[in-house]
Amino acid sequence: MSSVHGITLRGIEAVRVETEVEITGGLFSMSIVGLPDAAVRESRERVRAALRTEGLQIRGRVAINLAPADLPKEGALLDLPIALGLAAALGAVSVPEGALFLGELSLDGRLRRVRGAVPAAILARKLGVSLYVPEENAREVSLVSGVRAYAVPDLATLLAAFRGASVLSPVEPVAPEDEDVRPDPDFSDIRGQASARRALEIAAAGHHNVLLVGSPGSGKTMLARALRGILPPLSDAELLETLLVQSSAGSPYAGGRARSFRAVHHTASTVSVCGGGHSVSPGEVTLAHRGVLFLDEFTEFRRDLLEALRQPLEDGQITVSRAAGSVQFPSRVLLVAACNPCPCGWYGDPVERCSCSASDVDRYRRKLSGPIIDRIDMYVSVPRLLPEELMSVGDTTPEDSASIRARVRKAREAQLLRWEPSGFHCNAELPERLLRKSIGLSAEARAFLSGIAGSLRLSGRGISRVLKVARSIADLAGSPDISRAHAAEALAYRKGGLPV
């Protein structure tokens, strides 16, 4: 009997799986026990074919046990440990004790990319063991510092290395560069919309949630997409968090430090956005972690979906509980929502007439519940430009994304410097205790806010969200303290928005 270690994923966490293989006499058969899913059960055929290319013929009765027995195992990433366990049981090779192996085998013995390489690397680092991953996963694993990892192109190379016939070179850790994102559209392509531009700059700087309200064709979607080009690069810690999520979801790492941007259509189901399903996989709100979650036509989303977003938006993480178990996913997103001001879309338009009755407008607005509205830091009205404004050729081109991004980046660096010792990355995720203590509110701004908060009937959350936005505005201005003007601007985004 031989035993080799692999992993399986539980949410975004890797759990060690021990693969025990026993071969006894009898008619050839191969059985896998230990709650394998279909992909694991089918590994039988891949593993057998791959071993045959190495001249290893499996005969007799093969029993494969995946321990712990009560943990469901999923995915093809157990192919490699199963194959090595078989090779060891056949006496063809001796496998190093304790090491973690993952990889999906192709019939000719090559190793294919798997999901979960980053969680596996983190587990390997915690256990202090070495890790063997498919060559295609080497890049993402190289970003996890302090792990002894080897990239394996195929089964033959690995077996040769264990026989001492060749040496595998370890994966070298590399820090990725901040590649310039190619903004599409660029902010220089957007005419007018000065207030929306400013709001998005603040949102990008401090990771604040934004609601864009405007008539059809006013450019809400274009603005939201342009936001992508001014987001600050991911910090090292943020990059690792993002990679962990993406690796678990199976999307390949393309390099760079760009934040994710997930646009979700309003027909999306609650499970697809919040996570869940048979094997409890992450939803859009998790895939957009540290990036942007864009919900166009915000009011058209199902009500229960929007309400389900309350907790992840507030806590930056979501706990998905199912019969199969409960899993925690990170969900620190910058929510960009866009909607029309009324059902017909023309409410408040300078030219077109709104044909909605007052009760229609009222019902439309009520689709967004109080708790959700309370979680949106910035209300931005996006007025439609008149045809003559659109067609006129201005003498000045608007500021481009690159220069806005430079400012945002500077503001974010200031935040990192201030908050990283306490474990936070941006103003939006500050907890209450830090907010009151070290946000740097000037005396006049404090007086101004306490005077106005009462008359605006701001909730406790409302006040702290205003403070966070004000902090971002001050950071953009390079000011250590929040002045009265910063507070006033932040407050304007809160109470403005939907034209009344």
Partner: protein
């Protein structure tokens, strides 16, 4: 005097046994009967025990010899083989091979050897 098709089958089994030994198999026994059925040839291929089923057809018959072994026959072979292997107290691996033979009008043999016909598809 046996019936012509049984006579043909016996000649085929002789031919198959010769063929197997020429391939390096060690023939241990023939026409071994137990309560689950009959095993045409029992042989050793290296360190693996092989239960060989021989199927013979004259050319022109509708069904080819290999097609005449269906799931029911395979189940029967597995049962008979298991019983035999256990009675002989064999601990190593074993498999079931099929030798499909057709004889043409000139009396020439056309032979195909299928190794391990269960190939993991059979579950204990």
């Amino acid at each position: 005097m046996t019936a012509p098709h049984l006579e043909l089958g016996r000649r085929g089994e002789d031919e198959a046994a010769v063929l197997l030994s020429r391939q390096g198999f060690r023939v241990l026994g023939r026409n071994i009967r137990n309560r689950c059925g009959e095993i045409d040839i029992l042989a050793m291929d290296g360190d693996e025990l092989v239960v060989v089923e021989v199927r013979v057809r004259s050319i022109g018959e509708l069904m080819s010899p290999e097609d005449s072994v269906g799931p029911k026959k395979i189940r029967k072979l597995v049962r008979a083989g298991t019983l035999l292997v256990e009675s002989k107290n064999w601990q190593g691996p074993w498999r079931i091979d099929l030798i499909a033979m057709t004889v043409d009008r000139k009396g020439e043999w056309n032979v195909e050897h299928f190794r391990d016909i269960t190939d993991g598809a059979w579950r204990p």
